[in-house]
Symmetry: C2
Subunit: 682 residues, 2 copies
């Protein structure tokens, strides 16, 4: 297997020429990296990588991540026999094709994670490797090495410059992830030209510092044996992740090879012709794939199919011997939740004591985790503040540290929010795991790059985002979110929940857990919140509902989270003045938007003005209200009740504001129409 | 100077006990780090740091950054004689005090940059050091070493785990910033407990990999001579930044020293009493500062005042010999722009050829940079796409690289968006420099943590954010911003500009340049945009204006950037159907919001429905319109005109939508009131 033949050379030349044609036809894309990485891609897939192109979801497949996401991946998927035709390659970067500009998970068969935004794939790889280490530790038994795949990541200079990759690399080293193999395409070129202009650190030494095994192949263009040996050696190291620094020539074979001219633009026609001649291809023919190349990669498919069949037999035998573990593992693989898990969700009465919603979240986690081993989570060094570690949980740690085991479910992420978010995407992408992560709401924005990819890729990641407003008090404006809420709400397929009390917190978890393709951010208070009359899990899971009803109301106040009880207080004060005020709680816009029109219009109905109240920026609230109260700018440092008072978010002041709104609309006259009634919907 | 006396010990004990009292009185904060870092703080300020507490803005002062921002800084500022009284210390974390939870630039005398959000201060430090290296290279002359300060950064484990710090450290090493000295408080404790749970990398080796000098002090608790020698050695290294790993005991002196119990919570009363006795203080007395401590720090103030006086004389002599450089330098220090710079802004006629606004931005930069040496900028490895490097500019590079000089103004940031944003904050904080940075709009979100601190701190940073919508085409959804616009618009004191053509691009730069305390994000197209009839710089600098007027209109379309010309096309089509459509261009919400009420109501007037149009999320547009057209979710990969068509953002479809809006409001009846008319304003 470590000897290479002209057939291998032909396959590599096919990858290179096909990549050139794919980018050339689209007249857009990055030909250089695919051309440079063709040899290592070929060696990896033809000799090592275990996967079945006929079933890209086989659970124990090796995971492959192209962190510098580009056309290389499509070329490989096609040659290897995944559901991607030559016509799909020809439609690269065309509207509604299977081959968008950068690979997207859930969009194209065989793509594990979405890459292109740099650094993400690298960090996803750490998550994929954690998932294997964990599930292997939980389910493997003597004689049943059911979950033992490798994760292979290709990365370029760009990814390694990104902080998100640094964070993940440091944690990956700490966690001693021997199943993770990163191949670094050291081609000395990025968009700005030679990496000498900005990236002169010693990458090998940096990864040694992180505790990685570091290998090196000096000729990645043609030394297939050297590449083979490095990957083989990487696989032998069981207690450290490995990075192989592979010196390649970007755009190998082009007249412009080794320059940034081949990085992000198609090659010129004469260059393509010369390159094809050099590799023994017909310069006139496009998208040529010699049958010998298909034949070689068919072996990959056969190996994968055989491995999967063997694995399935093994799984059945496992089922005989370990029926409980089998049942749980297969359930997790299928993506189903255990029956009845939701019955463990806490339910509250208004007489139950006030608690912070971060504490309510801890109570939920404590209640549901015993029946939901799928939950694997942690915090970016704010465990005691986020309240994410339940007593029963064990740290996910390398056994040698004495601090936990790989079977543990609690991840100590360190102060690495962006890495955490991207690692969680990898955990979700692996399958069988529902990752939760935690930090202050304000610092979710450190991880924006990863959060939007959760949403785009449909990764079910749950953010426990505590200290979610000026209600955190003393830490002050540097820690108080203002714009964070609307940024998350404006992200498609992302559920931003801001529960007002215990039942709403349970509801938020219910929807977050059952939305298997949607990430959720649970925005939770530091301060105590009373349990509200009128809140139930059943109502709250609709995303918005009438918490306090009044017939022929003068005003509706719509609010979320910690401000709902303040709205109720205002309503009581207004009542004393003869102003009837309904209260709507709207903990999740995304979920509310998904309800039927009739329901929505019954909640935010016409007839009286609607005032929104939230201790964040008012931006976006105009969609659900006529008038908006919130923070005009930054928050302030001080005991939280004083900060609320400073900004007028008190029952008394909101009553004053409410009266102003009622008077204004009375004076204005005419019917007050629900803000939901529009000329059209997108 | 390197010998230490009991007076030094007393001063250190004063810092420790004062920090304990400050946090204790607030009943909130982080006592551990100040207690552990008191010795190094004392050695640094009493022996090395040059600054004048009576004039915290003296230009050549050494810059001090407490990256792990906490009460230590307030204690030091008070003892050193800055404008911070004991009463201010007693008001720590109280409403409207000078001592908010974490230090904020612009809020408290002597604070250089805002810290608390971890990793930021470290990266700011790299920016401060770049600023010195640059201005020194430009203005220093033989015998006039006018700008030669050091930048000192204190950092903890938390900051060093953050990717933003990794990015900045890598670039700082590349740039060989010998004037940067970082002191790493290696206390083995973060909020989650021992750093062994998540942070076991070899930090020294990592910084060696980045090209830093690495020093080590094994007893940071009491070895004042060791600390002194390390800082002295760091100052001698002129070609590398230095990190000193200082092993300290967190909460030194407390019963709980060395544990995370002293990290983020006040000490208990008995612990405080015991600690005070240990350090020779009265256990009953709070906020005690022995006169001897004040006396010692008075020497710091004297040294600083003398240095400033000498420097001022030197500056005058410099002015005699180098009047032009003197004039320019003093202008830059004063924060004034050169007279008449704005006359260089390009002006366009509708007949000028269509161009991408990223190209229009390049034309502005090319025009204004010759008269604005203050501009120092670069891109996160997208120079050829962002078009930020003008022909006349030279790379800011260490001379030894042969790639540029320190006098150069173009910074090659590498693929390090977050580091770039935080470094730019440091550049702005230094003074005399207006930093601009660049990436795709979508990847500004990688830097959210730094961007919000620009806005909070009032740092004038200009983001050249190109490829600002689905108009980037082929790269697809991974690169197409959706939520980015509203996230930035909802950030207080941040100007998000989306210019529609040449004149609006010039206007955006005009306002961005003249807003000395406001960061701006210029959202710029990849695709060509026509120059519009009716656009002028004068109108556009109001943030919003009537581009195309109609009397007794049936409809107003309000739009920004690349969609304004599409709105005009729709208006033309509607005209053919007898529907009169006004067009409002609203390139900057923040600037528009700052105009007087009458003007705003004249632009977005009552009488006819207003439809917004933008190729981003519609979130937030309800504030300025009755109906909203935009992207319902993610974009798509394909040639950009096809992508626009897929989402109905074409003249024809918007005409159809516009008609629907007109019909809807006709049917509805009643007066259509401007969305700007509200019951109250925040």
């Amino acid at each position: 297997m470590s000897s290479f033949t002209p057939q291998d050379e032909l396959a590599i030349a096919t990858i290179r020429t096909l990549a050139v044609d794919v980018v050339g036809k689209a007249n857009s894309g990055h030909p250089g990296a695919p051309m440079g990485m063709a040899p290592v891609a070929h060696v990896l897939f033809s000799r090592f990588l275990n996967a079945n192109p006929k079933n890209s979801k086989w659970f124990n497949r090796d995971r492959f991540v192209l962190s510098n996401g580009c056309a290389l991946q499509y070329v490989l998927l096609h040659l290897l026999g995944y559901k991607l035709s030559l016509d799909d390659l020809k439609a690269f970067r065309q509207l509604d094709s299977k081959t968008p500009g950068h690979p997207e998970a859930g969009h194209t068969d065989g793509i594990e994670v979405t890459t292109g935004p740099l650094g993400q794939g690298f960090a996803n790889g750490v998550g994929l490797a954690i998932a294997q280490a964990h599930l292997g530790a939980v389910y493997n038994k003597d004689g049943f090495n059911l979950i033992n795949n490798y994760t292979y990541v290709f990365t370029g200079d760009g990814c390694l410059m990104e902080g998100v990759a640094s964070e993940a690399a440091s944690l990956g080293g700490h966690l001693q992830l021997g199943n993770l193999i990163v191949i670094y395409d050291d081609n000395h070129i990025s968009i700005d030209g030679d990496t000498a202009v900005a990236f002169t650190e010693n990458v090998e030494q940096r990864f040694l510092a992180y505790g990685w095994q570091v290998l090196h192949v000096s000729n990645g263009d043609t030394d297939l044996g050297g590449i083979y040996n490095a990957i083989a050696e990487a696989r032998e190291e069981k207690n450290k992740p490995t990075i192989i620094r592979l010196r390649t020539t970007i755009g190998y074979g082009s007249k412009q090879q080794g320059t940034h001219g081949v990085h992000g633009s198609p090659l010129k026609a004469d260059d393509i012709a010369a390159l094809k001649i050099r590799f023994g291809f017909d310069p006139e023919e496009k998208f040529a794939v010699p049958q010998a190349a298909y034949d070689l990669y068919a072996e990959f498919g056969k190996r994968g199919a055989t491995l999967e069949a063997e694995w399935n037999s093994q799984l059945q035998a496992y089922g005989q011997k370990y029926p409980n573990e089998y049942a749980e593992l297969t359930r997790r693989i299928s993506g189903e939740l255990p029956t009845g898990w939701e019955k463990t969700l806490p339910v509250y009465k208004p007489t139950d004591p006030a608690q912070a919603s971060r504490k309510l979240s801890e109570i939920v986690l404590t209640a549901i985790i015993p029946s939901l081993p799928d939950l694997m989570g942690g915090s970016a060094d704010l465990t005691g503040s986020n309240l994410t570690k339940v007593k029963s949980s064990v740290d996910f740690q390398p056994p040698s540290t004495g601090l936990g085991t790989y079977a543990g479910t609690y991840i100590r992420y360190g102060v690495r929010e962006h890495g955490m978010g991207a690692i969680a995407n990898g955990l979700a992408a692996y399958g069988g795991i529902i990752p939760f992560v935690a930090t202050f709401l304000n610092f979710v924005s450190y991880a924006s790059g990863a959060v939007r990819l959760s949403a785009l890729s449909g990764h079910q990641v749950i953010w426990v985002a505590t200290h979610d407003s000026i209600g955190l008090g003393e830490d002050g404006p540097t820690h108080q979110p203002i714009e964070t809420g609307i940024a998350l709400r404006a992200t498609p397929n992302l559920a931003f929940w801001r529960p007002a009390d215990g039942n709403e917190t349970s509801a938020a978890y219910y929807v977050a857990m059952t939305s298997r393709k949607t990430p959720s951010v649970l925005s939770l208070s530091r301060q105590n919140l009373p349990n509200l009359v009128g809140s139930t899990i059943e109502k709250a899971i609709r995303g918005g509902y009438v918490l306090h009803e009044e017939e022929n109301e003068d005003l509706t106040i719509v609010s979320t989270g910690s401000e709902v009880s303040i709205a109720l207080e205002a309503a009581n004060k207004l009542k004393a003045e003869g102003i009837k005020t309904r209260i709507v709680s709207l903990p999740c816009w995304l979920t509310f938007d998904q309800q039927d029109e009739e329901y929505k219009l019954s909640v935010l109905r016409s007839g009286a003005p609607i005032l929104s109240l939230e201790a964040l920026s008012t931006a976006g609230w105009e969609k659900y209200s006529h008038e908006q109260y919130g923070l005009p700018a930054w928050g302030a440092s001080g005991p939280y009740l004083k900060v609320y008072e400073k900004f007028g978010i008190t029952g008394s002041n909101i009553a004053v504001v409410g009266k102003k709104v009622v008077d204004f609309y009375k004076k204005k006259g005419g019917e007050v129409v629900s803000p939901l009634i529009k000329a059209f919907h997108l």
